[in-house]
Amino acid sequence: MAMLNVEVDGRNVEVPHGATVMEAANKLGIFVPHFCYHKKLSIAANCRMCLVQVEKAAKPMPACATPATDGMKVWTHSDAAKTAQKGVMEFLLINHPLDCPICDQGGECQLQDLAVGYGGSTSRYDEPKRVVFHKNMGPLISAEEMSRCIHCTRCVRFGQEVAGVMELGMIGRGEHSEIVSFVGKSVDSELSGNMIDLCPVGALTSKPFRYSARTWELSRRKSISPHDSLGANLVVQIKQNKVMRVVPLENESLNECWISDRDRFSYEGLNSEQRLTKPMLKENGAWREVSWQLALEHVAKRLVEIKQAHGADTIGALISPLATLEEMYLAQKLMRGFGSDNIDFRLRQSDFAADGKRKGFPWLGMRIVDIGGLDRVLIVGSFLRKDHPLLAARFRIASKRTQDVNIIHVADDDLLLNVANKAIVPPQLLPEMLGQVIKAIAESRNLPVPSAVAGLEVEDAARRIAASLASGKLPGVFLGNLAEQHPRAGELNALAQMLAEMLGGRFGFLGQAANSTGGYVAQCLPMGQGLNAIKMLEAPRKAYLLFGLEPELDCHNPAQASKAIGMAEFVVSITSYRSTAADDADVILPLAPFTETSGTLINCEGVSQSFNGVVRPAGDARPGWKILRVLGNLLGIAGFDYDSSEAVRDEACGARNLLELLCNEVNGISLSLGEACENGLQRISDVPIYFSDPIVRRAEALQLTSDARQPKAWMSSAVAQSLGLAAGGKVKIVQSGTAVLEVGLDDRLPAQTVRVAAAHLSTSALGPMFGPITVEKA
């Protein structure tokens, strides 16, 4: 389509049809003052700050809402425009408090900034200002000063359009308008913190950060979020070597201009009281602070002793999937140099059938930016909103346009997006449901039905999903975290591949953690005869090297992990925090978290992002790559003389082109569909968003949110009735261990299932994340 020629402030610019005057001006780099306009939100045109002069228009026009037309002439800084803008500013300031020195937003307030340019030096009003009462919006957002609100409705539109849930609204009318949440409700969206950034004034501010520092006292450093597979870009703001606040760094191809609340508020965990600051050695059951030298020498000595006594393969290493590429690489180099292939980072995985059968490193299967362009999507086994808050937002926005989102999952949580079709099945039947979809597509397209799925009976839900997928041009199939943690993960992988091939589409993994793809790149997994994360615990080792994890929370079977580690002769835990697991260790070495070390994370789309430490390590904590380097040297392993983390990274990546090595294909996985006939209750586990890793577990404000509530035993009322249970009652859950939990009712759960969250101390004694479970009245 032909472009439109527009003249703004005497300069010509070409814009496409449908562009606004605001966009034309922005394209020329001309700033038009504005409050309600935001490039990622719908147009509201309610603040009127963007008034400009347009040729042949009798009145000033709002640039954000005026469509550009061919030959249009616009003046953004003419006398007429400026008079209009100043008039609007005077209106806005009638009721806005003029006490910037005591406002938390002072110094980073768009109203303050624009008032300097467009406001008068005195006010013509001496009437009393309007007072708006403060609101309680929960532990993250402070709405203490709602008199400052200028009713731009950015916060409301963000909820509706990006977060997918309208938690804030504007009640009343005219000068009685107020921003509120519904009577007595807190704001619970996992993306809510973005409203703080969007609010152009000091009405919505960060509750944890409020009044703890001034914006101009903070230095700003770039970083990468370690909390999910997206690799959101962050600006970490620090004062006196302490992280005070985290905000997004715009990266259109990853996090756009948003971050999740987990990325934003997890920093409180960095400053936790439980941070370890000194190496410690256990002597006769009591902890003693020691020097690094002594601690590391002790570790080396003990490892050598155990190797001599029992062989190197009695030593195992479990590495957190949040660890950096450098840390993972050095850990495996150390283990292999020492003679053991027992190393793994896939701590919550239980089925390793695909090992040795992969053609490459598992990944998303496409660029993140291309998600929006898919017209048909199937997401299998994902607590999408909580596991991947920002990927969910991309699907949400696409689902409002032309994308059909189909879901196969074990729970029917509200994803806040337009779900076209869904099949909610008990966990043990997840592969069968995927198989049914394959069969339905084969039948509808008159293709030969793959023998593995031929015996399945196709239910209506599968047929509907198949019809949706088959009707698209650009389909995509995604396996979520639960699918990767599933006891038949290998089969799910093979089935997704079969489906994608049949559809001529892409398939991939949403990615369990920040460095899940990086772990494969670093070869931080058994490559030969070594034991994987499950086997290392099933067949207990004599010694364990634990890096960055809390095994009683971060493993697939925490009960087994605690037991194996408890029995070991020697355990060294390289960790940032004191915890029960650290108590089981013989040596604990204080690890610098992501803000205190340089490193690299490879996100789900295979993009490798390196970052620097933003503050000095707390106390004597040290970056992981340095700890491992010294340990490697003490053990006399060759090639541990790196002088920077970059040198480690370069060695880890080598001359390979990573993007060419990404591939989700597996060959030779045997499929046995339709054979599972486990009766009785089955456990469904989710990893709740604010229990997912050691840092967020210690972020105080996040722990007060509704997503961090004490886990319950969720079941349908049918299950509860059959067991004679009522909501709120106590039940004893028995797996390989037991736990006592409160009953919660959720009728959207599939029949014969009980949902019990993982990654929480109250449930860690139970056993594996999946499998049979029994429930008794406590």
């Binding site: 849930v165 609204g169 009640i171 009318r173 949440s181 519904f182 409700k185 949580d413 959720d746």
Partner: protein, 172 residues
């Protein structure tokens, strides 16, 4: 994650009326019926309690706060319990210029209450209203959103109050 089951707050008759309103709009635009649904609910309950609005939100598949926005925008919706009779007097400029303010003062004195208050016996609530499209007949008083009284002189106001006070409890 905490599914809440909403016990119906409204009677079957009220729900039937709401269903009739919903039927006027396309299936995927149920929320267009929100204003009508709120009127039905208020007629039955006398006012719109949070749980009533929450119920309607669920019933129409829209966010609670969006219902709240509508209910607070229009001042004929009662967000608090009112007395048996809600008297709304228009105090907009045209009425104001034609004696509405004096009429309001008279009512306040007679009832012994200010705007947004209810008499101790629970009979009357006094409200300030916006233009009712009857500016030529000022002052105007609206009784319980349904009955419009115009040219409200002091005598007619007193007569109205007396009539309502003596009306049988069933009759609204």
């Amino acid at each position: 994650m905490s599914p809440q089951i909403n016990a119906p707050v409204l009677s079957v008759e009220a729900l039937t009326k709401i269903d009739r309103e919903i039927a006027k709009y396309p299936l995927d635009q149920k929320q267009s019926a929100v204003m009508a649904a709120l009127i039905v609910a208020q007629d039955e309950k006398g006012w719109l309690a949070p749980e009533t609005m929450d119920f309607i939100a669920n019933y129409l598949g829209m966010p609670s706060v969006a219902v709240y926005e509508v209910a607070t925008f229009y001042n004929m919706y009662n967000l608090q319990q009112t007395g048996r009779f809600k008297l709304t007097i228009c105090t907009c400029l045209p009425c104001g210029l034609q004696g509405a303010l004096a009429a309001a003062d008279h009512l306040k004195k007679q009832l012994g209450i200010d705007f947004n208050e209810t008499t101790a016996d629970g009979q009357f609530t006094l409200k300030e209203g916006e233009c009712m499209g009857a500016c030529a007949m000022a002052p105007v008083v609206l009784v319980n959103n349904k009955r419009m009284c115009d040219y409200m002189s002091v005598e007619k106001l007193d007569a109205l109050v007396a009539e309502l006070r003596n009306s049988s409890p069933q009759k609204v």
